[in-house]
Every structure is written in structure tokens, then in C-alpha cells.
């Protein structure tokens, strides 16, 4: 199918994109109502394209696209957009809302924008009772999972697994609970699989294999008991939510029909990061030719460690075929609007040595947008992380002197991002305003701690015991209370 970009792009699309879409982008935006997958490279403007597609479908439904039957459009109220993180969700929601504000739509014509977990949770909330799940089951936080798992450790002991350090034992068990669940494997399956091979492994050259198998059997047992405990207490975790949602979708065709009627078009963002369970849920609800647009970048599959499966993206065309059975279309978005040509060339050079057979998408190529110029790539090597941090700061300061905004981002990957990225701060470093992003960013940690503190405080109060130190520390952190010393006398003991 070839789609020609009209000479006059509807102004609403232009407004949603902030620029005229390229042919490549227009094709993705205006693809007919059928399953398709966008292979979007870094910086290819995929969020804009998704927002623009919502606008396009709305325009089409209102009869605003020449030559397109309004039946081929969908009003935003019947669109579902799923993303991976809360932040991406808010980002997309805002983009879509802004883009739609140029259209005269009735109130309530807003797409449902959620993350995959939130979607599963709402499905469970709405239909859980049908599948026999009591509503309002408490969803465990990570800390509560650890807590609950710890109580398993009072009921069993370990012969093979290292059990002298509780935190690592707990995290091993929880990992064995979560990872297989992401891949829709149950502890009993693991136990059966390992047990069946135990004899075979005895003859393996290294004992370690055999020991690891025995350890895994034990952990799987602990894991099964942990699940048992969850069931007894009527609590669930994130993994269970998806699990149950799939169960509901697979058992009740009425619910599938209801979803397809409610959401006549579905957009799935960051599809390369979904895990097997999430993809199964999407398939159960929206397979069979329902118009699903998945967007992903096979080279940005960064959540493999928590179960993301790249195959979801690569196998999308076969898994979500058109109604008549042929594989869904695969639409590339290769032009990079972010980086200069030299930067892309550097990226190519790095990826270059990987043989095609090992690359998820060997056809993918990033094309620079001439408007971005050449760009600059520098490589530096430092003695240690502190000199590295300092030199980065100096470089940022130097860039600032040339008139750049305070926006360069320091990307740190490695065993200790906090050392380089700047969570742990070297007081001797030049002063650069900064914000730490990612899981160790400031606020969540602080918030969690304030909560924990408050809990301790409450408990102390209930027992009539004051906890002066922590209490004061907490008050000081909030900038009131009695102990905050003046800036000039930091941690100086007063005379």
C-alpha cells in the first residue's frame, strides 16, 4: 500500500507535530484502521507521531480528511493509548490534549492514556469479580513484598541456597516470583523442569550446574510458599494484576467484545519494553485484526532485566495479523530529528561490528536530518570517577560560557551511576545546577524516608516514647523545627 502525503497537510496535524510531517511520518499517521507496527529509531519523533495519529483519526471521523470515509476514523473518546512509565503516560496525555485542543470536540472526547500496569489494574477492578477475584485487593509495594517474603523465611530453611544474608535471599525469591511471571511461567513448572533434569545435571562437568539447580528448586519452593501466603492474605502484586487480567480476557469473550467496542483504536507505546505477559494481554484483548498501532525501537530494549521481550516487537506483524490473515504492516520511522550527522555516524560505528544476524532489525538505519548539522562527538578517559565527574562539570560550565542553556544531560551508565551522574556529590566540584533523573532521583527516596520516619514517629508516640533524634532530623529536613543550623555552621558542634 502506498500512501501519498497530501500537498496540504491538515493544519491540526501540523499543530500537533509542531512541523510538517515527513512522508515517512505521514504514512504512519494516516495508516488505515488495521494493525501496524512502527519501527521508530531514536529521535524520530514517535510521541509526536502518536499524538498526531490520534488527531488524524479524530479528523477522519469528523469527515475532515478528503477521500477518507468517516468510518475509517475514530473519535478520541474511543482511543486507548498505553505507555510504559508514569512519566511517559503524563507526557503523552499532555501532548494529545494539546493536539486535540485545536479541534472542536465535545467534552469527554479524550483518549484513555494509561500505562500497561494501570490498564491491567483497571481491567481487574472492573471485571475482577467475574473471574472470582474479590475487588479492592491490596496491591503490595516493593517493601511490602519483601516484608511478606521475609515471613516465608520463618517457615522454611535452606540447604542449598545461600541464606546468611536475608536481603539477598529475599530478593532472589522475589525475582523468581516476578521474572517467570513476566514470562507466564509458574513456580511448579520451574520445579518440574529442574527436577526432571537433576539426574542429567549430576553428570555435568562442573558441579556448579548441579548446585545451581538444587538452589533453584529450593527457591522455587520458597516462591510457591510466598504465593500461597499472598493468596491467603488476599493481597496481590503488580505481576498478579497482569496475570489475572489475562485470565479474565481469555475466559470472557464478552469482556473482549466490550473492550473492542469501547476502544476502536489502540496505540501501544514502547512496545519493545513490554514483557510476555503484557503482550499476551494485548493479544487476548485486541488480537484478530483490531486496529492496534504498536510503536517501538528494537535498539532501545532496555528493560530486558525485568522481563521485557524484544520478540513482542519483532513478531508483532505475525502475532497481530490483519483481519484477513496477512501479517500486519511494518512501517519504519528512521529519520532522526535530534542528533547531528556525526553523532549518528558514531552510533553506527559502534553498532557496525555486530553481525546482521545478531541485530534485532538489520534493516534499521538512522538518517540524519540536515537541519541538525554535524554535531560533535568527544571521547575521554579519566583516572577515576571523581576526575571524570569533575571534567564533565567543567565541560558543562565551558558549554554554558558559549551560551548553551543549562540543559545538557549527563548520561551515566555503569555500575555506579550516582558517582558520575552526580547523586553523590563531591563538594569540590564546580557548581552546576542539576537534577538527577531516573530511579535514584531525589524525591522518591526522600519521600519514602519521610514516610518511614513518620511511621517510626507515630509508633513512638503511641507508645509514649519520644524519638528525639529522628524526629528532629525529620523536622530539619523539612526546613522547620528546631534543629536546622545556620548555613555557615553546618555540622559544627556549638561551643
Amino acid at each position: 500500500m502506498s500512501i501519498v502525503r497530501p500537498s496540504l497537510v491538515p493544519p491540526e496535524i501540523f499543530a500537533a507535530m509542531g512541523a510538517a510531517p515527513t512522508d515517512e511520518q505521514w504514512r504512519a499517521i494516516s495508516w488505515p484502521l488495521e494493525p501496524c507496527v512502527l519501527i521508530a529509531g531514536a529521535g524520530s519523533g514517535k510521541t509526536s507521531v502518536m499524538a498526531a495519529r490520534v488527531v488524524y483519526l479524530a479528523l477522519a471521523a469528523l469527515g475532515g480528511i478528503d477521500g477518507v470515509d468517516p468510518e475509517q476514523g475514530v473519535l478520541p473518546g474511543n482511543v486507548l493509548c498505553l505507555t510504559f512509565t508514569n512519566k511517559a503516560t503524563d507526557n503523552l496525555r499532555l501532548r494529545v490534549r494539546r493536539a486535540l485542543s485545536t479541534l472542536e470536540l465535545a467534552e469527554g472526547e479524550e483518549p484513555e492514556v494509561l500505562n500497561y500496569h494501570g490498564f491491567a489494574a483497571s481491567l481487574l477492578e472492573r471485571y475482577g469479580v467475574l473471574a472470582g477475584f474479590e475487588p479492592g485487593a491490596r496491591v503490595l509495594t516493593q517493601a511490602q513484598r519483601s516484608e511478606l517474603c521475609s515471613s516465608v523465611l520463618d517457615r522454611m530453611t535452606f540447604e542449598h541456597a545461600a541464606a546468611t544474608w536475608q536481603p539477598s535471599l529475599v530478593s532472589k525469591i522475589l525475582e523468581l516470583d516476578e521474572q517467570p511471571q513476566n514470562h507466564r511461567v509458574r513456580p511448579v513448572q520451574i520445579q518440574a523442569h529442574v527436577a526432571a533434569r537433576l539426574e542429567l545435571l549430576k553428570n555435568a562437568r562442573s558441579n556448579r550446574v548441579y548446585e545451581a539447580a538444587e538452589e533453584r528448586l529450593e527457591l522455587a519452593e520458597a516462591c510457591a510458599r510466598y504465593r500461597e501466603l499472598k493468596r491467603e492474605l488476599g493481597v496481590i502484586d503488580f505481576g498478579d494484576q497482569i496475570d489475572r487480567a489475562i485470565e479474565i480476557a481469555e475466559r470472557y469473550p464478552q469482556i473482549v467484545a466490550d473492550h473492542r467496542a469501547r476502544f476502536r483504536a489502540v496505540l501501544l507505546d514502547e512496545y519493545q519494553d513490554t514483557n510476555v505477559a503484557q503482550a499476551d494481554l494485548m493479544h487476548a484483548l485486541f488480537g484478530d485484526g483490531h486496529p492496534v498501532t504498536a510503536v517501538g525501537d528494537p535498539d532501545q530494549n532496555i528493560y530486558a532485566w525485568r522481563g521485557a521481550s524484544l520478540y513482542n516487537l519483532l513478531e508483532f506483524p505475525e502475532r497481530f495479523p490483519r483481519s484477513e490473515g496477512s501479517p500486519a504492516a511494518r512501517l519504519p520511522l528512521y529519520t532522526n530529528f535530534r542528533s547531528g550527522a556525526r553523532i549518528l555516524a558514531a552510533a553506527d560505528t559502534i553498532i557496525g561490528p555486530i553481525p546482521d544476524a545478531q541485530r534485532p532489525d538489520p534493516d534499521k538505519e538512522l538518517r540524519p536530518d540536515p537541519a541538525n548539522g554535524e554535531g560533535e562527538v568527544a571521547v575521554a578517559r579519566h583516572m577515576d570517577e571523581w576526575t571524570e565527574a569533575r571534567s564533565i562539570a567543567e565541560r558543562v560550565v565551558a558549554l554554558r560560557a558559549t551560551g548553551a542553556a543549562w540543559s545538557p544531560r549527563v548520561r551515566a551508565r555503569g555500575p555506579r551511576p550516582e558517582g558520575v551522574g552526580g547523586a553523590r556529590q563531591d563538594p569540590a566540584r564546580p557548581s552546576v545546577p542539576r537534577r538527577v533523573q531516573g530511579p535514584r532521583a531525589r524525591r522518591p527516596a526522600r519521600d519514602a524516608r519521610i514516610e518511614a520516619d513518620a511511621r517510626v514517629h507515630d509508633r513512638g508516640r503511641r507508645r509514649g516514647r519520644a524519638l528525639p533524634f529522628r524526629r528532629s532530623a525529620r523536622a530539619a529536613r523539612r526546613g522547620r523545627g528546631p534543629v536546622r543550623p545556620g548555613a555557615d555552621q553546618a555540622h559544627r558542634l556549638p561551643r
Binding site: P76, N91, V129, D447, I450, S472, P494
Partner: protein, 960 residues
């Protein structure tokens, strides 16, 4: 009260002068509909109408109590027969009149219990569609809602079944059959639920002469078809109905606007209409502000501060302020905590908002749960119970009890029968609690009130609450108040046929569906009201602060829809339609909340993401009111609005050497006036000023020096101030192992496998470990690796000394310590050994170990250790062994040859000298800097450390 000085505007006068017949008054909030109705009611009575034949019908119990109070004041007489009623009250009165014996009315929780009971008794085979769900509470609740909606909309089970069949909905015939059965069961017992009461009254109303001459109805925007039918059936010659169509907000409770919309057309054709337009509530439109805070905790702090500012600076009474949240939930707890922190007095008038979860009611709820819990549930409850105020054990002690019970082969729940290992006071507490619970459990099945009475009278926490309330402090009184409210809830639950503890807990857990709105007591404590949006209906405040004014929360579009929706009998609405309807609901609710304020409204929301302000989804309603978002005002110390803030500010000024003298003196004056006691100033208190340095005689040990070597801040907080955490189980194991080795070497314990294992068995304490699994694993480690390794490497040889104490002077400092083992070397001289029970992975080389260096120096310097010279080898022995099987011992050793001895000693002296100089300098400077290169993994003070994000706000980094 506004009534005595009521001066009606022209439209209100029309209402008062209405000669009779049917009249509909509409008008937005604050136009005096309610006041006009009340005045009309009062004048009717004054003009001689028969009190029994005049009825004022209002929307809620709260409005009823309000109206009664106002009217009694207005009429200046005591009128027991004053007919001020809710629709339910009206229905009850009507049935009493028409039928003689009115039916017993089931409360919502009782209705739920009845539905559940009937569902559980159903034959699964008769339920092909929903048979699998009969046992679920969630299903029972859905069915309960359907039953209420069905009766409210005046449908019969047969109609329900037919409509469902026509709409092609499967499974509804099962529901309709059940509905018929349910109604039959209630009828037989002369019972009705709330909805049924109205339906029955609607049927009875029309049979017979009119009961009332005058009927006045308020808040008609939130009503039901059944209520409409009652009004029609009553056929009062004079009917005046007031409503605000924009205030219809209780649709989730099954009310509808339909009766209002068709009032003058279908229901009462030819009714007159009067529209009120003059606003009485506020002189001017309230101002609307919109604040955005960077984080929820800061949002709550801003709310608390603004309340305080309004109270202190503008003189607004606490009770004239309200904080409104969209709905109940865990976040309300954080908000309340922020208000408490800022010492803002507050009340939570809606029951269910915090009653079951408040810290002060927690022990009673726990104890009640325990009474009705089965075995496995008790296993889960026992630990919370032991550590709660019911008993008050420490977590460690309670875990110890539970483990002991398990070890004895009993269930965890039976830990309550164990007192071994407790100190006498703890044991007494356990025994007392056990007896109290046993006594209370006698009543558990029959009466929650009696069970609660036993708990209240006998649990020690009750006494503490009462005592605390006698002291100063609003906080403590509030705790008692909360328990009293809880006790009232208990009493109320037992009024209509006590369902026992289980029934009460079920109602409590039902939360939103549980107990309805309580009467809001205006004469209550002078405190800020924390309300849900729906809870504000009918109230009025000077300023209303709406917390959580964010998209997704307010408007909140995510409310789950009922499983069995009567609307779907007509047709299933599209998603856009339901979103639109929901948005309209939310907008009306929002305007109701905003309409509560006379002077000002503040909307506050916070950013959900740490790093992108523009992502915040601020509520769209703010823009519709013309408010512009701006950052929430911070918490400036320059204008303190509480004594606590003032104290903090003035203390800082006092302590600031760069401030002008007059300012510092003024601060001192202020502090004096506040009665602030310097001896309570933590961290600012002067150390006893002896005129001498902190340490006159420095005594240092390796462990102190090693902390210092790692980080100055860790050193001062941990070693000097002693703020470190108590050592964990690894340290306990280390002490145990060292002790056993010492006893073996000294001959106090026989050097045999049996005696060592025996000693371990005797001394091992499971309670020291976080879990049984860890304890068992560690014990195996100690028995099979540590002692094996020690045995093969040291056990057979003789030692010269073990646990040898030393003390020597070095550059004016006394260095002390204990050497684990000194043994002979075959080649002459001695060897110093330090046993390590930890991991060898990151251990230093022996020649670089400060610890071994100090020991080496000690033998050479200390006279008492002279006999061990010359030392020819030093070593760290990691008896836990290598991580790989067979886990052989790892020894980091250094041979001190004749040639290298001097060099080694010099190196040790230099290191030690530098550290001591550092230590001395710190004592003089008293400025402690964190070390950015430190190993922080085990540090307890990261939350206080400026180089970690967690601690940055506590201390700023000082330059020396």
C-alpha cells in the same frame, strides 16, 4: 443563626407569600433557598398551621439536624412535634400512619449482610451464569447495589427480568429471581432496606387522605424516583420544592436529577416556578487561587501553612476553614499528619475516613479482629497484636515469642500463651491481655458493644488515653476523641439488632458502603474540618482549600462502574458519553465544593514527577474559574505563624554570629517570652564548657581510627555522639565465635567437636536473626566452616595468649585494644592473628592493615606484652573461608623479617601519626566533613550526609 434577622429579597418574598399549590424554587448555591424554606416553615406555624401537618423534608441527616436547630431558635418554642425529616424519616412516618406497625429498616451494612447470607445459601445450579461468584463479597456488594437501584427506580423483579431479556443481557434472570426472593424474605420479616422503605412508602402514600397540608422539600436535585412518587402520592395541597440543578452530586449513591428535570412537566404539571438569583452567602465572589507544589509532602505543608496563616494573620476561626479532598484514601493520612505537624487542630467529621485506621483506635480494631479470627487469620494477627498497644511488646520480643511457639510445635497464634523469655512486666502484659481477650470473646458472637466494653475497660491503652487527654496537648485529646467516636459507631451498630463483632467489622471494612454520613456537629471542637468533596454538601466556610486538585483526582474519571447497571437496560453508553457524563458530575461536584467558600478558595496540586514540571496535570476546572497556577508559597521563616516556627527562627537569629546585635537580643527576648527552654534544644545545647578540649586524654582503638580513616562525619556521629545503630546479627555471631575460641584456648571449654557443638547449641539464639532460615544457615556456617577452619589451622597448636588486652602511649594518645591470638612460630618469634568472621573479598593486604599495624606496634611498645617480642608475622584469618567449596580458610599474612621490620614499623607509625593528628585537629576545629571517597555501604548516616541526596537538606557542606 440567620433566621431571626431574616430579611428576604423580592424573590424570596414571593416564596414566603406563595398562597398554596405546587411551587418549584431553583437557584444556584448561596441564593437562600434553604433559608427561604425554613422561614416559610416558621411562618406557617406562627400563622397557626397545625405543626403535625407541616413537613420540611431535607436531603441528609446533617441538614435535618441543622434545620431543627435553626427552627427551634427561630420559633423560640420547644416543639417536639416539629416535622423536619429526611425522605427516609418521612417514609417511616407515613408507613406508621398508614400501616400502624412500621417495618424494621435495615441499615446499609445490615442489608449487605442479609444479601450475603442469602447468596451463600443459594443453590449454585440455579445460577448458570453467576454461580461461581456467589461466595464473593464483591459480588454480594454488586447485587446489593442492584437491589437498591431497582427499588429506587420503582421497578419490580419481573420488570427487571423483562427489560434485561429485551436488551439481550444474559444472566439477569438469575438476578431478578434472586431479587424476588430477597424481597419476599424481607417482607416475611416485616423488614425493608432503605430503598425498599421509600418504595413501600410511595405505594402507601396515595392510599388515603392527604397527610400534610404543607410540604416543603429541599435539595431536590439529589433524589430518587421513589421519593418523587411519595410526593405525588402525598398530594399535599401546598408543595414547595427547592433545588439547584447544578448541585446534583450524589449520582453514585443512586440519586438522579430526573425528578427535578420533569418536575413542572410530567410530575406536577402546571407547577409555578420561582428562580432565586440574589446571592446571600458572600458579599463578593470568593477569590480563587491555584498553587502548584513540587511534591505531595510540600503540597500538604503548604496547606497546613496557609491554614495557620489564615488563622493567625487574618483571624479566621479554625472551624471556619476546611480542607477538601476528592475522596478517602491513604493520602488523607499524609495530609492529616502534615496538619498535626504544623499543630493545626483538625477534625475528620466523616466516619470511615479514618476511624478504622487511626492509631488510637488501632488496638481496639485489632483486638476485635482477633476475637472473631480463625486459626490461620490469628497466625497473621498475632504479631501486630503483640506489638500493638494491646500488649506493647517490642518487635524483637514478639518475634521471639512466636518463634518459641513454633519451636514447641504450636501455631504462631499460640504465642499468646507463651511468656518464657520475657521480663516480668512484659509477661504480666501478655497474661493480662490474654485474660481480657478471653473475656471479651465470650461476647464476640452476640454483641459488639459488650465486647468493646470489656476491651475498653480492661486494656491498659484506654487508661493511657484518658490520662494523656488530661494533660495539655490537643493531640492527645484528639486521640481520645477518636476512640469516643469509634465507641459511638459501635453503639450505633448495636442499636438495630446487634450483629456481633463480625458484622461490625464487616461494616467497618465496607468503608464507603458502610456507615453513612454522620451529623456534623457545629458545636464541636474549634478545628479545621477535613472533608471529602461529597462531605461538604450543605456546609459553609470562610475559606476552602482543595488538596489534590489534579487531573485524574479531581476530576476523577476512573471510578469503576457498577457491574449491573440499570442504564444498560436501555442501551450501553459509549465511552465518550460516559466520560462526558462523568466529567459533568465532577464539574458539578467541584462547583459545590467551591460554592462552600465565602471568601476564598485555594486549589493545590503537586507534581507527580521529580523532573518535569510541565507534565503536571493540573485540574482543568481551575482554568474554568479563571485561576492562574503559580508555585505554592514556600515556608519562609521571616514571618513565623506558629510558636514553633518563631522559636526556630529566633534560635537561628540568636545563634547567627553575623547578625546585628540588636537582632540577636530581640531574638533572645522573643525566646524568653515564648518560654522556650534552652536545655531542651537538641543539638544546639552547649556541651559542658570545661575550658578544656573535648577529650583531655585521648584513648583510641582500631575501630575508632578506622571509622575516622573512612569518614570524619561518620566518626563524629557514630563514635563521638554514639548515634550508630546497634550492631546486627553478624556482630552477634562474631562475638559468639570469638568467645568460644577464647574459652577453648584458655581450656575453659574442652577442645573437642562435641563440646564445641554443645556450647553452640546452648548459646545459639534464633531471636537474634531476622528469620529462622537465616539463623539456621548461619549456624551451619559457624559449625561447619568457621570452627572447622579454626580447628584445622589453630585448634591443635598452642597459643601464647588469646584476647590479650593492651594499652600504650603514642604521641600523647593512649591506644587500647585486644589482640585475638598470639602464637609461637617454629622459626622463632611470634605471630599475631586476628580472627575475622566476615567476608575476605575486600580485605586489605596484611601489610596495609591498620589493625595489624597497631597490634604490631602494641607488642613492641607495651611493657606488658614484652614477652611476645619479636613479632615475626601478622595475619588476618578469615575463618568463614573462601566462597568456593571446600571453603578453605583465607589468611592474609605478612612476614616481618629482620630487614623489613623497621620499614614496616615506620609505615605504621606514619599512618597512625597522621590519623592521630587528624583526630586532634578535629577536636580543636569541631568541623567534620564527609569524605566523598568513603565506603558508605555500611554507614548509618547517609540520611544525614550532605554528599548523599537523602541528607543534603540536613547539613550543608561547610568549608573549613
Amino acid at each position: 443563626m440567620e433566621a431571626p434577622s431574616f430579611s428576604p429579597d423580592p424573590s424570596q418574598t414571593q416564596v414566603l407569600d406563595h398562597p398554596g399549590g405546587t411551587l418549584l424554587i431553583t437557584g444556584p448555591a448561596g441564593t437562600g433557598k434553604t433559608a427561604a424554606l425554613r422561614e416559610r416553615f416558621a411562618r406557617l406555624l406562627q400563622e397557626g398551621a397545625e405543626p403535625e401537618r407541616v413537613a420540611l423534608v431535607v436531603g441528609s441527616r446533617r441538614a435535618r439536624d441543622d434545620a431543627r436547630a435553626t427552627l427551634l431558635a427561630r420559633l423560640d418554642t420547644s416543639l417536639p412535634g416539629l416535622r423536619v425529616l429526611t425522605f427516609h424519616g418521612l417514609a417511616l412516618a407515613l408507613l406508621k400512619e398508614r400501616e400502624g406497625e412500621p417495618p424494621e429498616v435495615l441499615s446499609a451494612p445490615e442489608q449487605f449482610a442479609k444479601v450475603r447470607e442469602l447468596l451463600l445459601a443459594q443453590d449454585v445450579r440455579a445460577w448458570p451464569a453467576y454461580g461461581g461468584l456467589l461466595g464473593l463479597r464483591g459480588f454480594a456488594d454488586e447485587v446489593r447495589q442492584l437491589l437498591s437501584r431497582m427499588q429506587e427506580s420503582l421497578r419490580t423483579p419481573e420488570e427487571l427480568s423483562d427489560a434485561a431479556a429485551a436488551a439481550g443481557l444474559g444472566g439477569w434472570e438469575e438476578l431478578a429471581r434472586f431479587a424476588a426472593e430477597y424481597l419476599g424474605v424481607l417482607d416475611a420479616a416485616n423488614q425493608v432496606d432503605f430503598a425498599g422503605l421509600l418504595q413501600r412508602a410511595a405505594l402507601a402514600a396515595a392510599e388515603g387522605p392527604p397527610l400534610f397540608d404543607h410540604v416543603l422539600v429541599d435539595d431536590y436535585q439529589d433524589t430518587t424516583l421513589a421519593a418523587e412518587a411519595i410526593l405525588r402520592g402525598l398530594a399535599a395541597p401546598d408543595l414547595v420544592v427547592a433545588a439547584d440543578q447544578d448541585a446534583h452530586v450524589f449520582s453514585f449513591q443512586g440519586t438522579t436529577r430526573l425528578p427535578l428535570d420533569r418536575f413542572a412537566t410530567e410530575a406536577f404539571p402546571g407547577a409555578e416556578r420561582i428562580r432565586l438569583t440574589t446571592r446571600h452567602r458572600s458579599v463578593s465572589e470568593p477569590s480563587v487561587e491555584a498553587w502548584i507544589a513540587p511534591h505531595t509532602s510540600e503540597e500538604h505543608a503548604a496547606v497546613a501553612r496557609e491554614l495557620r496563616r489564615l488563622h493567625v494573620e487574618e483571624g479566621v476561626a479554625w472551624s471556619d476553614l476546611a480542607v477538601v479532598v476528592r475522596r478517602q484514601g491513604a493520602h488523607v493520612g499524609n495530609l492529616l499528619r502534615a496538619l498535626d505537624d504544623a499543630q493545626v487542630p483538625r477534625v475528620v467529621p466523616e466516619r470511615g475516613l479514618s476511624l478504622g485506621t487511626a492509631p488510637s483506635t488501632h488496638p481496639y480494631v485489632l483486638a476485635l479482629r482477633w476475637l472473631v479470627a480463625g486459626g490461620p487469620e490469628r497466625d497473621e494477627l498475632v504479631e501486630p497484636l503483640l506489638t500493638s498497644d494491646v500488649i506493647g511488646l517490642s518487635p524483637a520480643a514478639s518475634r521471639g515469642l512466636i518463634r518459641r511457639a513454633r519451636v514447641d510445635g504450636r501455631s504462631a497464634a499460640e504465642a499468646l500463651d507463651v511468656t518464657e523469655g520475657l521480663d516480668p512486666a512484659e509477661a504480666d502484659a501478655v497474661v493480662a491481655a490474654r485474660e481480657t481477650l478471653a473475656k471479651a470473646s465470650l461476647f464476640a458472637g452476640m454483641s459488639v458493644q459488650d465486647a468493646f466494653r470489656v476491651l475498653w475497660e480492661e486494656l491498659p491503652c484506654s487508661r493511657r488515653l484518658v490520662e494523656a487527654a488530661g494533660r495539655e496537648g490537643a493531640e492527645d485529646r484528639r486521640d481520645l476523641d477518636t476512640v469516643v467516636t469509634f465507641a459511638n459507631a459501635v453503639a450505633e451498630a448495636s442499636e438495630g439488632g446487634d450483629t456481633g463483632v463480625a458484622g461490625f467489622l464487616e461494616a467497618l471494612d465496607a468503608g464507603e458502603h458502610g456507615p453513612g454520613w454522620t451529623a456534623w456537629d457545629h458545636a464541636g471542637p474549634d478545628a479545621v474540618a477535613v472533608l471529602t468533596a461529597h462531605g461538604t454538601v450543605g456546609l459553609e466556610f470562610d475559606t476552602v482549600i482543595v488538596a489534590g486538585a489534579a487531573e485524574g483526582n479531581f476530576p476523577s474519571l476512573g471510578r469503576p462502574e457498577p457491574m449491573f447497571d440499570l442504564a444498560s437496560l436501555e442501551r450501553t453508553p459509549s465511552r465518550s458519553e460516559s466520560v462526558r457524563a462523568r466529567l459533568e458530575d465532577e464539574r458539578r461536584l467541584f462547583h459545590v465544593v467551591v460554592g462552600r467558600a465565602r471568601r476564598g478558595v485555594v486549589l493545590v496540586c503537586s507534581d507527580t514527577h521529580a523532573d518535569a514540571d510541565e507534565l503536571t496535570q493540573r485540574t482543568r476546572f481551575a482554568g474554568e474559574l479563571g485561576a492562574i497556577w503559580r508555585p505554592a508559597p514556600g515556608s519562609p521563616f521571616d514571618e513565623p505563624v506558629s510558636t514553633r516556627e518563631a522559636t526556630a527562627l529566633w534560635r537561628r537569629q540568636l545563634a547567627d554570629p553575623s547578625a546585628e546585635d540588636w537582632r540577636r537580643l530581640a531574638a533572645l527576648d522573643g525566646l524568653h517570652a515564648l518560654g522556650s527552654d534552652p536545655s531542651t534544644w537538641w543539638f544546639q545545647r552547649d556541651w559542658t564548657e570545661t575550658g578544656r578540649p573535648l577529650h583531655e586524654q585521648l584513648r583510641l582503638s582500631y575501630s575508632r581510627l578506622s571509622t575516622l580513616e573512612n569518614c570524619e562525619l561518620q566518626h563524629v556521629l557514630g563514635d563521638e555522639l554514639g548515634l550508630g545503630r546497634t550492631a546486627g546479627y553478624q556482630a552477634w555471631v562474631g562475638k559468639l565465635v570469638h568467645g568460644l575460641i577464647e574459652q577453648c584456648e584458655k581450656g575453659e571449654l574442652e577442645k573437642s567437636k562435641e563440646s564445641i557443638l554443645g556450647a553452640i547449641a546452648e548459646r545459639w539464639r534464633d531471636q537474634e536473626f531476622p528469620s529462622k532460615a537465616v539463623s539456621v544457615a548461619y549456624r551451619r556456617l559457624v559449625e561447619e566452616r568457621m570452627f572447622r577452619n579454626w580447628w584445622f589451622n589453630y585448634g591443635e597448636g598452642e597459643s601464647l595468649a588469646v584476647e590479650e588486652f593492651f594499652e600504650f602511649e603514642f604521641e600523647g594518645v593512649t591506644i587500647v585494644g585486644v589482640i585475638d591470638r598470639i602464637g609461637p612460630l617454629a622459626s622463632g618469634g611470634t605471630r599475631i592473628t586476628d580472627f575475622k568472621t566476615g567476608n575476605p573479598d575486600n580485605a586489605p593486604k596484611a601489610e596495609e592493615s591498620l589493625q595489624l599495624g597497631i597490634y604490631y606496634l602494641a607488642v613492641n611498645e607495651s611493657a606488658t606484652l614484652e614477652r611476645f617480642r619479636p613479632v615475626r608475622a601478622v595475619e588476618l584469618a578469615f575463618i568463614k573461608g573462601h566462597w568456593k567449596p571446600p571453603h578453605e580458610i583465607v589468611v592474609k599474612a605478612w612476614q616481618v623479617s629482620h630487614r623489613s621490620a623497621e620499614q614496616y614499623q615506620t609505615a605504621v607509625r606514619e599512618t597512625l601519626s597522621a590519623l592521630i593528628a587528624e583526630q586532634k585537629r578535629l577536636i580543636i576545629d569541631e568541623v567534620y566533613r564527609p569524605n566523598p571517597q568513603a565506603d558508605c555501604f555500611w554507614c548509618d548516616f547517609r540520611t544525614l550526609c550532605p554528599i548523599w541526596p537523602e541528607g543534603r537538606q540536613v547539613f550543608e557542606v561547610a568549608d573549613r
